[in-house]
Amino acid sequence: MNELELQAPFTKDKMRALRAGDRVRLSGTIYTARDAAHKRMVEALREGRKIPIPLQDAVIYYVGPTPAPPGRPIGAAGPTTSYRMDAYAPTLLDLGQSGMIGKGMRSGEVIEAMKRNGAVYFAAIGGAGALISRCIKEAEVIAYEDLGAEAVRRLTVKDMPLIVAIDSLGNNLYNRR
């Protein structure tokens, strides 16, 4: 089992070297989006409009944080269950997104899109919202502010603990048998 330090955003060749089961400490810039933001982004793309996340090599974290208490950039910020984004993820992967962070299993369509595009799916520990909050150094709402917790945020993270759940070859830590 490898333990690697990674800096986001990262190019696909870095992604291709990762294997399911690898432990990763992620630093750098990532974006947040969950159900409502994904729906809105994919609808915008369908209508030929721009979306707030620069997709090339982007890492999207499926999270809806609690409000930031005074003196902190963000509140609790653990992953939400990823399968609800399965309907939208292939569209974004085909446009250059290289990483997804969430928890739980993914559909066959998402895994095929990952293999096609050399992308990786990371799991963060569900329910560890306070622990992960400490790894988030800056947070800024960059779009869809009306969605509240579901707004799109740009995060600066440091040493965020992740596990490679599904790698770019389709190896899947959820299917071990």
Partner: protein, 280 residues
């Protein structure tokens, strides 16, 4: 008649919302630690260690354990000798939810319509179950419920011929299908009997029993133990990456039912199994 001002209920609900979301009760914390010590899978042990660390950080820094601070599920027991004064009971409960979620910097996760999906902005309304009981006290049980695990819950209307075996298989299948999605290690609440509408409430209420307490009926205590063993042999493990710690506990709540039916509901809770109780 004993008079209780509904403002007291508002205050209690607001405090419980904030307390429940930053700290687990000792029964849950202790069980997670026992499982961590007994876990033989290295990754599983490590994840349980991070879950323990998360509990410590949330308590020390007074921030929520999980970003899904839940839908406010509230069980009220109102003594029939109590006279509630100063306003509407349910409005008082919802005002407590609003205050608690605002003052505790908790996430507002409720939409006002299931299809049109506009956020209410204050986490109200709560789901409120009310029982009228003997006595002159009001008991409030507050359980914020995350939906990662709620979405993995199931209900089935079995024929009586399905029996104990059919219900047990359904519980195990439900947990197996959920896999890593509901944030294992989970707590499994099983409702049996009553009617279609009530059996799911029983499953939810079963989640509130302290972990480590035995079912008072030895028949169900045995079934709970057998289910826990079968579930922990599935090798789902913490977060779905393998290991023997898939469930912290299985709790059953059964009630009388119809000669033609055997309702069975499974409500899953994540390891952030939050609840608080207050008696006024």
């Amino acid at each position: 008649m004993r008079e209780i001002a509904v403002e007291e209920i508002t205050r209690a609900v607001s405090e419980m919302a904030q307390e429940a979301n930053v700290g687990l009760t000792g029964d849950v914390v202790d069980r997670i630690e026992v499982c961590r010590q007994e876990e033989t899978n290295d990754l599983a042990k490590d994840i349980l260690g991070q879950i323990r660390e998360n509990i410590r950080i949330a308590g020390e820094e007074n921030i929520p354990l999980c970003q899904d601070t839940g839908m406010a599920c509230i069980f009220l027991e109102i003594g029939q000798e109590v006279h509630l004064v100063g306003g509407s009971l349910y409005e008082a409960v919802n005002e407590g939810v609003r205050r608690g979620y605002r003052d505790g910097f908790l996430r507002k996760s409720i939409v006002e319509d299931p299809l049109r999906r506009t956020n209410t902005g204050d986490n109200s309304p709560a789901v409120i179950h009310t029982d009228i009981v003997d006595g002159d006290h009001v008991k409030i049980l507050f359980a914020p419920k995350g939906f990662g695990s709620e979405n993995m819950s199931r209900v089935r209307m079995f024929p009586p011929s399905a029996g104990e075996a059919g219900c047990k298989d359904f519980v195990v299948e439900t947990v197996k299908e959920a896999g890593g999605n509901p944030c294992p290690p989970i707590v499994v609440g099983v409702g049996l009997g009553a009617s279609f509408d009530r059996v799911t409430m029983l499953a939810k209420k079963a989640l509130l029993r302290p972990i480590g307490t035995k079912h008072e009926d030895p028949f169900y205590a045995r079934i709970e133990q057998e289910l826990l063993e079968r579930i922990n042999a599935l090798d789902i493990g913490p977060q779905g990456f393998g290991g023997r710690t898939t469930a912290l506990a299985v709790h059953i709540l059964a009630e009388p039912t119809h000669i033609a039916g055997l309702p069975c509901a499974v409500n899953i809770n994540c390891h952030v199994s939050r609840h608080r109780e207050r008696i006024l």
